[in-house]
């Protein structure tokens, strides 16, 4: 059971620490708060989802297969990950080496009125990831622990799964980049250069 004492870790503090070391990693975010958090440190090689709930991890898969020399980091929430649990099985079976998934797990559906998710009732996402064959899967709930994980997010052979327990802090919507075609085209141009138009 992953449910323990409530975490004191703030999601934006966690995201800031993770993204500070992103280097040339490619980032995909799950809809809702995760996109807003990551948007505070905008980067052309971030693909933000504003919909497609449950799809973030699999977008990471397609991207990781296409770009085997780059690390792909998916940052999403517990609700979004729960909607795509099957994708953990696909990733475990496929053993995508350059893929890491970070779940910002506040145990709540923040966007819809702070209803509890299954992780608040003992569902252990890292345990699911481990059972599907992820090379590395764990849960963390403090900043020092998270900081020791960060280099591994970008280098350890994956698939890697890290459930980061965060507190219930909410922030105003900070990201203005909303047009899907623009987010996609910006990402491709930045990554592929002129080949983006082939």
């Amino acid at each position: 059971m992953a449910q323990t004492k409530k975490s004191n870790l703030d999601r934006r503090v966690a995201v800031k620490a993770i993204l500070a070391e992103r280097g040339d990693a490619l980032v995909v975010t799950g809809l809702g708060s995760s996109s807003y958090d990551v948007g505070t440190m905008d980067h052309p090689n971030t693909y933000y989802l504003w919909g497609g709930m449950g799809g973030a991890a699999m977008i990471g898969v397609g991207l990781a297969i296409a770009q085997p020399k780059r690390r792909v980091l998916v940052i999403t929430g517990d609700g979004e990950m729960l909607m795509g649990l099957g994708s953990l099985a696909t990733i475990g079976a496929e053993k995508i080496r350059n893929l890491s998934i970070v779940v910002l797990d506040n145990e709540l559906y923040s966007e819809t009125g702070m209803q509890p998710t299954h992780t608040s009732r003992g569902v252990d996402l890292a345990g699911v990831a481990r059972a599907t064959g992820f090379a590395v899967a764990d849960t963390t709930s403090t900043l020092p622990e998270l900081k020791s994980w960060i280099p591994r997010l970008y280098s350890t052979p994956g698939p890697l799964f890290l459930d980061v327990k965060v507190n219930a802090n909410r922030y105003p919507l900070s990201i203005r980049l909303r047009d899907g075609a623009h987010i996609k085209n910006r990402f491709r141009e930045s990554l592929l250069g002129s080949k983006a138009f082939d």
Partner: protein, 181 residues
């Protein structure tokens, strides 16, 4: 038993190979699929191809997301599924449409020509309308000789115009399901 008395086995159909050839011609590198009997031969070839990665999914919507990711990374891909899987994809198709991702999906039809399983009819019969409602261009093929050309035309449209295009491969092409096997 004399060889002449053996029941005649029809030759393996060539349309799956035609699709594979089109995949190679247009540079498909990622295949996302939930298996369907109609795609058996094609999937074997894709798995055997070192320049392709064929990924078996738990549900079809994973494939829609995966191919969005493949395009972000510069790879062309295709989603193979049975018509019953189309309903699983609808919300994820919204992401494809909003972002104008190209998407090529080949749907083998059930619930139409010679179907014996009543449970296949509801999704099979609503597949074209469901796809069109979700914003996909729908192109249908019922002649085995036209499969390769139809897939090529659909792929051209998908990747040249950044649109989602579905090719419905009629149940008549796939043939009756043999439940003795």
């Amino acid at each position: 038993m004399k060889a002449a008395n053996k029941p005649a086995t029809p030759p393996a159909p060539t349309w799956p190979l035609d699709i594979y050839k089109v995949f190679k011609q247009i540079g498909i590198r990622q295949i996302a699929y939930v298996p369907d009997a109609g795609h058996t031969q094609l999937l074997k070839r894709c798995h055997a191809d070192k320049n392709m990665r064929a990924v078996s999914l738990t549900t079809e919507e994973e494939g829609v997301a995966m191919l969005a990711g493949s395009w972000l990374g510069g790879d062309r891909g295709a989603l193979l599924m049975q018509s019953s899987g189309v309903g699983n994809c609808i919300n994820m198709f919204g992401t494809i449409r909003e972002c104008r991702f190209p998407l090529l999906t080949l749907v083998t039809m059930r619930g139409e020509w010679g179907e014996f399983n009543p449970w296949q009819l509801p999704m099979g019969q609503s597949t074209p309308a469901a796809l069109e409602n979700a914003g996909l261009v729908v192109q249908r093929v019922d002649d085995r000789a036209m499969v390769g050309e139809t897939v090529f035309a659909a792929a051209t449209m998908a990747f040249q115009t950044n649109r989602a295009v579905a090719v419905l491969i009629g149940q008549r092409i796939v043939g009756f399901k043999d439940w003795s096997k």
